[in-house]
C-alpha cells in the first residue's frame, strides 16, 4: 500500500458519527421505546381479544367524538395561525427597527406557558372580566360574554400560544427569499399582488407546508387549555383528555395507549397529506442566480 492510497481511503467509521450518539440514545429511550411499548400495550386490552381497545374506541361515541372535537379545534386554529402569520411576516420581511419591535411584541406569548395564558384569559375574557366590563361601561354590548369555559376559549388560547410560533417560522422563510426577485417581477409589470402571488407564494409553499404541520401537531395535542379555559367534559373534550381519563381515572393503561396511538395516527395522516401536497411545488434555492 503506498502513501497516496493510505491518505485517500476513508475511515471505516467517520468519528463525527459518534457525536450523534447521545441524541440517538435519547431518542431510543424517550421516544422509540415508549412508542413501541405503548403500541404493544394497546393490543393487550383488559378484556376481549387483541383488537378490543380499538373496537371500543370507535364504537363508544364518547370516545370517537373526541377525535372530531380535536380536529374541530386544531384545523381552524392552524388555518387562523398560518393565515394571519403569513401576511404579517410578509409585511415585516424588510429589516427595520419597526420590524424588530413588532417581532418582539408578537413573539412574547411564546415565552408564556399555556397555564399563564389561561389565567390571563380568565381575567380578561371571563363573564366579569375586563372585556365584558369595558363593553358594558361603554354601552357597546350589554349581553353576556362567553369566551371562556367553552370552544372559543380554547380556540383563543391556542391562537395566542400558536401564532408566534407560526409567525417566527414564516418570517424566517420569507426573509430568506431574495427581494431582487420581486423587483425583477416589478420591472416586468407585476404589481404588488402579482409579485406576491407569482414570486413569493410559490417560493414560500414548502415553508408554509412545514409551518402548517408543526402548528397543527401542536394544536392537536392540546391539553391544559382545553381543561382550564374550555369545557373539558363537553365541547372541548379533546382526545388527550380521553387518554388522560383512561390512564389516570380508570387506570386502564392499555386503553390510554390505544387512544395515544389513534391520536398519533390522526396527526400522521394530516402531516402526510400536507407534505404530499408540498411535493407538487418547486423546492430548491430561493435566489435568482449566481452571485
Amino acid at each position: 500500500m503506498n502513501a497516496a492510497e493510505r491518505v485517500t481511503r476513508p475511515a471505516l467509521i467517520d468519528p463525527a458519527w459518534l457525536l450523534v450518539g447521545p441524541a440517538v440514545l435519547f431518542l431510543l429511550l424517550l421516544f422509540v421505546y415508549p412508542f413501541l411499548y405503548g403500541f404493544a400495550l394497546s393490543f393487550q386490552p383488559a378484556e376481549g381479544d387483541w383488537f378490543a381497545n380499538y373496537q371500543k374506541f370507535f364504537t363508544d361515541s364518547r370516545a370517537w367524538r373526541t377525535l372530531i372535537t380535536t380536529f374541530g379545534l386544531a384545523l381552524p386554529v392552524t388555518v387562523i395561525n398560518v393565515g394571519f402569520a403569513l401576511p404579517i411576516a410578509f409585511r415585516l420581511r424588510r429589516r427595520t427597527t419597526y420590524q424588530r419591535w413588532i417581532t418582539t411584541l408578537l413573539v412574547v406569548p411564546i415565552t408564556l406557558g399555556t397555564v399563564l395564558i389561561a389565567d390571563g384569559m380568565l381575567t380578561y375574557f371571563g363573564p366579569r372580566g375586563w372585556l365584558a366590563q369595558t363593553l358594558q361601561l361603554l354601552h357597546l354590548y350589554d349581553g353576556p360574554i362567553r369566551l371562556t369555559h367553552n370552544y372559543w376559549g380554547v380556540l383563543i388560547s391556542l391562537v395566542i400560544s400558536g401564532f408566534p410560533f407560526a409567525f417566527l417560522l414564516l418570517l424566517s422563510y420569507v426573509t430568506g427569499i431574495d427581494p431582487v426577485l420581486a423587483r425583477a417581477a416589478a420591472t416586468l409589470g407585476a404589481n404588488r399582488w402579482n409579485q406576491f402571488l407569482h414570486i413569493y407564494l410559490p417560493l414560500l409553499a414548502p415553508g408554509l407546508a412545514i409551518t402548517f404541520c408543526l402548528v397543527f401537531v401542536q394544536a392537536f395535542s392540546v391539553f391544559p387549555s382545553a381543561v382550564l379555559v374550555g369545557a373539558p367534559s363537553g365541547s372541548t373534550r379533546v382526545i388527550s383528555i380521553a387518554a388522560y381519563e383512561a390512564a389516570f381515572e380508570n387506570y386502564d393503561y392499555a386503553m390510554a395507549s390505544t387512544v395515544a396511538m389513534i391520536m398519533g395516527f390522526a396527526q400522521l395522516i394530516v402531516v402526510a397529506v400536507v407534505l404530499a401536497l408540498r411535493r407538487a411545488f418547486y423546492r430548491g434555492p430561493v435566489s435568482g442566480g449566481k452571485g
Binding site: 431574495d178 431582487v180 426577485l181 423587483r183 425583477a184 417581477a185 416589478a186 420591472t187 416586468l188 409589470g189 407585476a190 404589481n191 402579482n194 407569482h198 414570486i199 410559490p202 417560493l203 411545488f281 418547486y282 430548491g284 434555492p285 430561493v286 435566489s287 435568482g288 442566480g289 449566481k290 452571485g291
Partner: protein, 360 residues
Amino acid sequence: MPHDFKQLRLDRVSRRFANPSGAVHTAVDALSATIPRGEFVALLGPSGCGKSTVLNCIAGLLPLSDGAIWLDERRIDVLPPERRGFGMVFQNYALFPHMSVRANVGFGLRMRGTPAAEAARRVAKAFALVQLEGHEDKLPGQLSGGQQQRVAIARAIVIEPPLLLMDEPLSNLDAKLRLEMRGEIRRIHRELGRSTIYVTHDQDEAVSLADRIVVLQDGRVQQIATPQEVYAQPANIDVARFMGYRNVLDVKVEEARSTGVVVSGDGMWLTGVVKQTLAGARAYAAIRPEEITVGASGVNLIEGRIENVEYGGRDSLVDVRTASGLVLHARMPGKPAPGDTVQLTVPPERVLVYPHGSEP
C-alpha cells in the same frame, strides 16, 4: 405603454440616503442627461459612485429625492416600476428559480395579459435572439452562468421595452464569456433599435459598447462624451485616472504658451496641453502608459532604468525609475530586461495637464 419614443430625459435627478447614523449621503447629485432613441449609453464609474442608484431610479425601484425623469412629454418618475415598462437585467440575473426558462421569459407578457398565441410567438423570437433555443423547459438552476445571463436578457427584451437597463450584467461571467456576451449585447441592441443604459465599472466594456459614456464619481457627472473623447480627452484628473492614465505627475507650471504648457517636476521638463483651466502654479500631468514610446526625440525626453516588467504577450507593462526616483508606467514592445537604461518620449499633445484638485 408607448413603445416608441424620441428621448429619455433625466432632469437634475438626485437621490439621497440617510445613513444609520442619521447623516445624509447624496448618492446621486443633480444628474441631467438626454438619451435619444437608439443610443447605447454607459454609466461608468468606480464602485460606490452612484451609477446603480441612477439605474434603479430610472427603473422605478428607488424613488427620487429631487428632479424628474421624462419620457418625451410624459413624466415617469412618479410611476411605479410595473407601469414604466422598462426592461431590466440585474447583476445576479434575478431569474425566478421556480419557473421554467420559458415561463421566466414569458412572465412580462403574462403580466400584460398578452394573448397566449402572440406571447408564444414573441417568447420564441426572444429565445432566437439570445440563441437559447432548446433550453426552454429547463429550470434556471440547470443553466450555466452565461445561459442564465441570456435568459435574463431575453426576459427583459420580450416586453419590447423602450429602454433596456443593464446593471453590470457581465460582472459574474468569466473573461472569455464576458467578451462573447459583450458582442452579443451590442448585436441585440442594434437589432432592437431601442435605447440601452448600461452600468459598468469596467472602462474597456464602456468604451467598446457605448455610443456615449456618462462618467460618474461621488454621485456627480464628471463627463458626458463619446468613448473616443472620454478615452483621449478626459474632462478632469479623476476621469483621467479612471480611464487608465496611470502616470499622474505632480508638477509646477513653468510657462503657458499658445502651443501648450511647459511643466516641470522630478527633474523633468514636459510640454503638454491644458485640458482644464489651470489655477495656481501647481498642476497634474497625466500620461497613459500606452502613449510613452521608446527613443529620444526633441521634446519630453524621459530617461530611466527599467525596474519591473509585466510581460503581456504583445508588449510589456514596464516600471521605469527616473533619476529623481519617480516611477513611470510605460508599455514597451517585446520583453525588456530589468536593469537596462532606456530613453522614453511622449508626444506633447498626449501630456494632459489638469489643475490641482483636492487630492493628488
